[in-house]
Amino acid sequence: MKFLQIAATTAAFGLTTTATFAETNITFWHAMGGQLGETVNQMAEDFNASQDDYKITPVYKGSYEETLTAGIASFRAGEHPNIIQVFDAGAATVIGAKGATIPVADLLADNGIDFDINDYITGVRYFYADSDDKMIGMPFNSSTPIMYYNIDALEKAGVTPPKTWEEFASVTAPALKEAGYIPLSQSHLPWIFTENFFSRHNLQFASNNNGYDSTDTKILIDNPAIKAHFTALSDWKEQGLFEWYGTGWGDNAKPFEEGQVAMWLGSSGSFGGLIQKDLGFEFSATMLPYWEAVTTEPTQTFIGGAALFAMSGKSAEENKATAEFFKFLTAPETQYFWHKETGYVPITTAAYEAAASDGHYERFPAAEVGIKQLTLPAGDHTKGYRMGFYVQIRDIMNREYGRILTGESDVDAAFKAIETEANALLARFAKTQG
């Protein structure tokens, strides 16, 4: 009896699987936890419901670093997913491994889907492209650092959000301190105060066109402008105009959310989370300040966040499914949904226009700040950077910046250390590519 039951169930199960066999299944590994993960699942469900030929399964693999490591390990074992989300710092690793992925430009063209890089907004276009400006990874959750501020706090102090760091130091911060606030915190020193610092001031970050043209690259971090910025930062910390709560993202965001810190530098992608949190005060956002002493014509920042890569070694049908999913993702409606739910910027001009014509930015002016900043005039050094072992280089920056801010090291010694260690890692990476 028992045996018959089992046999029947197995047979029934077999039938259902054959019934749906015509469907092509693909997997998608990502690093979007919490609310973001639910939005990703929603988009996957929408894609599955929109047609009958393909079915995508999103799988959450932990942090960005963990997702990349899992992807690499699975690739070496031949068990890799069709799509993997790789973050900005991992770009050189995944793009350097030619043969691990199919360039998104080729994937779309081979599957008869129109692709024009000029459909994408300017700050998004080239970060995940190769040195010939061919798009390798498809920008997915694209964000850029912006400055959030507590409207109530600024009103109480009688100031407006600062445009430059000079204004912050002389007007905004002292007034906010007077009003009983800690004026400023930030959540990611390498991303906000290093990579985007170079981009915002159009300074060269690494040799060989910021590393895009060759792996034989040297980092150019020992630059007087950024050293002056960190000197100012540690002075501000001493004067109570800035606070640093460690390297963790959340530890620095929390005091802003609790209303102790008046202004916080975070990601444009933090917007969705902040809106849902019911903060107890009104907030808005403005562009990343710049130093007037360095430039009077600040340039655009580039995207952070992550991109989707189509992994190679899959059948033509599965690649077709991946291409169709990419097409679905870049559609203006999908992009607008993603943008509205999370705060990540819409990656195409069409999606941006869809959001604007729907009145999204009249309701939430802060949601537009990131896109405006990404579409500012470009410069020679604003397209991004491409450096290998960059995860470790960021860790070195975090370590040395932490030492500056806790008084363990001085600015000159710290930047010298970052330069030396980063260049040693870049030289090692160049050898792995040989």
Binding site: S63, E65, L68, T69, I72, F75, R76, T93, V94, G96, A97, K98, G99, A100, W244, Y245, G246, T247, G248, W249, D251, F389, V391, Q392, D395, I396, N398, R399, E400, Y401, G402, R403, T406, E408, E421, A424, L425, R428, K431, T432, Q433, G434
Partner: protein, 293 residues
């Protein structure tokens, strides 16, 4: 005395085989791979690989930061071993003297043993929370600007405290059973010779505990070196930053976060050598001088 033996060679070999295979598959094979890849620089995805000789090792010795981490590991292991052994010994001696309610005391003291290292780490995060952690507040009342994840020394202190707290129960159990196995007659004889309890402890009880203490010393050093990984990982909250770390954690960071397989392999080979030396030290130098009863 008659020696028991096997009639054929194959039976003992067959009986040993499963164990030998486990050692071969889970230790020698990966260790061999680690040794081999420590001489190469490899593309993470496995496409390119360059033989670099001992470069991975010389890069480490030339790296001031690696030396700093090695030094922290030594200090950290010494502190964790010293405090977890001494506190556990004190508790064991006191618990051994308790007559009424002895069982409940012992159970309460052993309780912590059941907590997994990452959970201990998360409890540490609660206790050392930057703003309202009870221990943070406690340290700050003494004027210490204690901030977990910000100041190097604060994070190091938290790591040592959590690791010690987690290890005390194991040491306690061993010390207590060690104490209870000291014959009653010996203690009573000592009582006549020496009226001072402290004197009796150091002259009679402690030497008799030496085998237990030595065994625990080795166990605690390996615990501090390797098994505190979960605690350190939890207390760092995913960002190494300017936090202190041990050599094992560095292996993990470079290999699994940074995807530098060659460099990470070289570091694990160094750790293997370290464990080898520790084992030699254990068997050659100390075991000879300690008498087991």
């Amino acid at each position: 005395m008659k020696r028991a033996g096997f009639t054929t060679v194959w039976l003992p070999v067959a009986l040993l085989l499963p164990q030998l295979m486990i050692i071969a598959i889970f230790f020698y094979w990966p260790a061999g791979w680690a040794l081999q890849s420590s001489f190469y620089l490899q593309d993470p995805f496995g496409f390119g690989s360059t033989f670099v000789g001992v470069d991975n090792y010389t890069d480490l010795t030339n790296n001031g930061e690696y030396m700093r981490i090695a030094w922290f590991t030594v200090v950290y292991s010494a502190l964790v071993t010293f405090f977890s052994l001494s506190i556990a010994l004190l508790l064991a001696v006191k618990a051994d003297n308790v007559i009424r309610g002895a069982k409940s005391y012992r159970t309460l003291l052993m309780w912590v043993y059941a907590i997994a290292p990452p959970v201990a780490g998360f409890l540490g995060i609660l206790f050392f929370d930057q703003r309202n952690g009870p221990l943070t507040v406690f340290f700050q009342t003494f004027g210490w600007d204690f901030k977990l994840g910000v100041n190097y020394n604060s994070t190091a202190t938290a790591m040592v405290m959590v690791a010690v707290w987690k290890q005390i129960p194991v040491n306690f159990i061993f010390f207590l059973s060690g104490l209870q196995s000291i014959p009653r007659a010996v203690r009573e004889a000592a009582m006549i010779d020496n009226r001072s309890a402290t004197g009796r402890f150091w002259q009679v009880t402690f030497p008799l505990l030496a085998p237990t203490a030595f065994f625990l010393l080795i166990i605690n050093i390996t615990y501090a070196l390797f098994d505190t990984f979960g605690i350190i990982d939890a207390l760092m909250k995913g960002e190494p930053g300017n936090n202190p770390m041990t050599l094992v954690y560095k292996v993990y960071l470079d290999g699994f976060r940074g995807n530098d397989l060659g460099g990470s392999s070289a570091q694990s080979v160094i750790l293997m050598v370290l464990v080898l030396l520790l084992t030699v030290f254990q068997f050659r130098l100390i075991e000879r001088r300690i008498h087991y009863t």
